[in-house]
């Protein structure tokens, strides 16, 4: 996927200006998810669950070479073909060969963030393969030609009226069609695709090393169908997705579900051990592609590697007051919100992503929500510090911060500037700091009285 993270501040302002409905849709959806997560955490001893999950993942990551080789061995024993890919180039080569060998004409895809990273859909389309995203939300944004705006709810930025308009143009449904009616139309199209596709493509929530089990979570049934009906199944798995033992799933499946949607378990879990046996329904071939794409670079980074514990549950997005304003699109890459702000610089390099660690108030809500206790606020500060050290942060910022701290430390200077700025017509376009703010927003309007004066009056 093309990376546009550098444009974050501009894109965020533009989105708020041009698509004001997005804020409402995203806020509504994320607050709903967040309330469900909180309720679901309260039902269990969340601190114990999260701590145990953190420790299992840390063990896994500090023995990653061992577990990767074990997983490969177990998968191969069950007749699964295993490949290793550094990034998109190799992943594409592997997929191209499979498509050619099986004469694939139609593919059904289960939502996977890694395949977004790798640009699997554009590749398949260039090979003349008809690709159907089968998660309902993912199908909607595929029709619109948009990237996902949330890890778990890729279409949460769309209001019902957006979808009614889309389906009206596409399938001729009435403009006031109910969600049930719209879902029924999508179901029909996609059912046909499931029954006729040659290839099913998925990611994986987990890959158990001990047994070579792929675990996939969902609520619609599209992943079960994508991995059951076509004769070939290809799963792309990030190398950090492993778990040591099968029984670890008893912790990670429900914990992920609680963090993501507040459910005790997602409606469907697929536990895949290999291709169908003689006389059994299911794919005749299962291929697993183990993908690095920046993960080993992160593992090398003692100040940033903890982000590799991430389960992609989206809980930090739902908890984030900054993400809530815009949804994921302005972040300019597959991963948005708090996790994107600390993962994207690690995967892609800070040069292309340096505004993202600033897209946070450091309130800490993301850390409280995270099921594997990734210290996101600490990592945000690490990346900000590096951005400053490498001179990536705008030069005016350093001067402005220095001047600001001088003023803030001296009551007399503070009073002077607070009066002076209040009296002046603001030179909005002269100061770059103000320009970055005012571009795409209304003018700054200082309150008539300074805060310390209001505070005095209030006390009296």
């Amino acid at each position: 996927m093309q990376v546009k993270a550098k444009l974050y501040p501009k894109e965020a302002a533009r989105l708020l200006r041009e698509h004001p409905g997005v804020r409402e849709a995203v806020t509504g959806a994320t607050l709903h998810f967040e309330a469900n997560r909180k309720r679901a955490y309260q039902e269990i001893d969340a601190e114990i669950w999260r701590e145990r999950a953190r420790r299992v993942k840390d063990h896994l990551l500090t023995h990653l070479d061992h577990y990767l080789e074990l997983a490969e061995k177990r998968l191969q024993e069950k007749g699964v073909r295993v490949y290793w890919a550094e990034g998109p180039e190799e992943a594409h080569r592997i997929l191209r060969e499979i498509v050619a060998r099986h004469g694939v004409k139609r593919a059904v895809k289960a939502k996977s963030m890694l395949t977004e990273e790798l640009g699997v859909n554009p590749l398949l389309e260039s090979l003349g393969v008809e690709v159907y995203e089968t998660d309902l939300g993912e199908y909607l944004i595929q029709l619109l030609g948009e990237p996902p705006s949330h890890i778990v709810g890729p279409a949460i930025h769309l209001a019902l009226s957006d979808i009614q308009r889309l389906f009206h143009g596409r399938f001729g449904t009435p403009l006031d069609a109910s969600p049930e009616a719209l879902a029924a139309v999508a179901r029909k199209v996609l059912r046909e695709a499931f029954l006729t596709a040659d290839l099913g493509i998925s990611g994986a929530n987990f890959l158990v090393a001990e047994t070579g089990t792929l675990a996939l979570m969902e609520n619609e049934g599209n992943i079960r169908l994508s991995t059951s009906l076509p004769r070939v199944h290809v799963a792309f798995v990030g190398i950090e997705k492993l778990l040591p033992r099968f029984a670890d799933l008893a912790l990670f499946l429900p914990l992920t579900a609680r963090a993501a949607t507040g459910q005790r378990l997602s409606t469907y879990v697929s536990l895949i051990q290999g291709p169908a046996k003689e006389g059994e329904e299911g794919p005749k071939e299962v291929h697993v592609v183990l993908v690095d794409h920046g993960r080993t670079t992160l593992l090398h980074d003692p100040e940033a590697w903890e982000v590799l514990r991430c389960l992609r549950c989206g809980a930090c997005l739902n908890a984030c007051p900054v993400y809530r304003q815009t949804g994921g699109h302005p972040y300019g890459y597959v991963y948005s919100g708090p996790i994107g702000a600390v993962l994207d610089p690690g995967l892609l390099g800070l040069e292309d992503t340096y505004p993202l660690p600033y897209a946070s108030t450091l309130c800490g809500a993301c850390y409280e929500a995270c099921p594997v206790k990734i210290p996101i606020p600490k990592l945000l500060l690490t990346w900000r510090k590096r951005a400053v050290e490498r001179g990536l942060a705008p030069t005016w910022e350093r001067g402005a911060i220095q001047a600001f701290s001088k003023v803030m430390q001296s009551p007399s200077l503070y009073r002077f500037f607070s009066k002076a700025l209040r009296g002046l017509p603001l030179p909005q376009d002269l100061l770059p700091l103000l320009k970055a703010w005012t571009e795409g927003r209304g003018p700054l309007r200082p309150s008539p009285k300074p805060f310390h004066q209001l505070w005095q009056e209030l006390k009296e």
Binding site: T62, P179, E220, N222, R224, A276, L299, H300
Partner: protein, 189 residues
């Protein structure tokens, strides 16, 4: 060097000198009350229907579900006693009947094996699952620790297919069955 050796050698390099984290033991499962009862409660909370039935009750349940239907699709492990309706392919059947490997009370889950047939579990709009009472585990952990043979795929189903992707409104039966009914079978079969 191929991709595998490159990736593994980078990992080994990164891990050199890094303290190794210990793998925590699995927790002790909590003492269970009556798992079948909890299972039925959780199923209901998940939007599915559960019934604790003896042989007679099971047949009655099936007869109720089958009323007015032209046929049903059956999993391989479904006993003859439950094949009341003519068999239809899962693509066409209005009802699918499966036999579960096991069930889990704490999450309200039935575990379905690929050996029983995958299409019958997914394609018909209504899914009836049979599970013996003694196969209801209190927790996921106990069920997973006990699992000895692994079919090519296990599906854990905990309710009807659902999605809130269209305007945050919950819709059932998006891809999988919109109705899940579980019969917990008492006594011997």
């Amino acid at each position: 060097m191929d991709a595998k050796s490159r990736i593994l050698s980078r990992i080994r390099h990164a891990l050199k000198g890094m303290p190794k984290a210990l793998l925590p033991e699995h927790p002790h499962p909590a003492l269970a009350q009556d798992p079948a009862e909890l299972f039925l409660k959780r199923l209901a909370e998940n939007g599915a229907e559960g019934h604790l039935v003896d042989k007679e009750g099971a047949r009655k349940l099936l007869a109720d579900l089958a009323q007015g239907l032209p046929g049903a699709a059956y999993g391989k492990g479904v006993p003859d006693a439950f094949r009341l309706l003519p068999e239809l392919p899962p693509e066409e059947a209005p009802l699918g009947v499966s036999r579960a490997l096991f069930a889990v009370a704490e999450t309200g889950t039935v575990a379905l094996s690929s050996e029983d047939g995958r299409r019958v579990q997914l394609l018909p709009p209504v899914h009836l699952v049979l599970v013996e009472e003694e196969k209801v585990y209190p927790s996921l952990l106990e069920a997973f620790l006990d699992l000895k043979s692994f079919p090519s795929a296990i599906g854990l189903h905990s309710g009807p297919s659902k999605s809130a992707d269209i305007g945050q409104v919950m819709v059932k039966g998006v891809h999988g069955p919109g109705r899940l009914v579980v019969a917990v079978l008492q006594g011997s079969w």
